[in-house]
Amino acid sequence: MNAEVSKPNRSSRQCSPTCTGGARAALLPLGEVDLTGSPFVVGAMFGQQGGATTPAQVQVAWEDQSNINRFNKLNNEWHELQARVQRQERLTEDLEDASNELMLVDDDEVRFAMSDCLFVRLPQDEVEVKLQEEAERVKKDYESTKEEVEKIGAEMAMLKTRLYEKFGNAINLEEEV
């Protein structure tokens, strides 16, 4: 499902305005543009083999540009949602822990943290209901986030196929790890 985990293809022939280490990049030093934060780098294919199409010969149409834009945005969103999924997983665990602890408590009264600096003393059964409601809500959120992640992953995979089909090695859509 994950369209982004595959190892970046670090072909030695790939060169981009960022790889200043490359001999070709010395042709036109471009230290100012840093594209490394970008999930894709439009690189160049500099041929040892003479007959290969060079990137300048591949025409970039507006449609391709829109696809790249879309991919970029989806990639961003994918990361954000992934972070949210992790937060929700942690929250679910914490709520489970709290429910389990609650069962072990003998007191009728439990201190319930409403915020960082306020604990309300509530009867145990009331807290139980509150925790259950919260767990339910988090579960629903979690499921819808998961669904969204999958949808975005699928669209990214589709865009990826389409862009690689057209640009081949001249484009890099892999994550910089």
Binding site: L28, V60, N72, M114
Partner: protein, 187 residues
Amino acid sequence: MSSEGGADPNPVLPKAQFIEDVGEYLKGRSADDAIAGLNEHYRRYKLEESRLLQRRVYNLSKLPEVKKTLDIVNLLIQKEGGDSEVTVDFELADNVFAKATFQDVHTVNLWLGAGVMVEYPLLEAKGVLEGSLTNCKANLETIKQDLEKIKDYITITEVSIARIYNHDVERRRLEGGSSSRENAGQE
């Protein structure tokens, strides 16, 4: 505080133009100049992006705060009119808690900021908080749209710079190829 949904994120920001034909685009100027110009745009887009991201973080941190406050007000509403006492422990200073008991509360003080605190009836307080919650979410939505637009600008500019660069390398390769052959012939 925020711009309208359809408008440009920042009116003085130049719109990123997609280059249809690099050769055509470079007519009358050198690749270096073109790239320098795009770099300048790129920097401005990045600046705007970080400004938007900051506002996003601010609103994102406000959201849970308002939610928590709303939870507390809801609890007060739930306990209003009941005859049971509610006991709370509240923080006086770091790690120092005091105990307070209340019963049949009808109003609550909300901190509005800038040293102003207003006492509201519980339901009115709920309204105020729900209002700022909606506001906060609306802000986040506008910021998201602005960010998407600026991200497109950034992507377009990145691609344009790479294309001009590649176009120029290709040109030099063709020129260099022929001149080195000439040199070889002369030697």
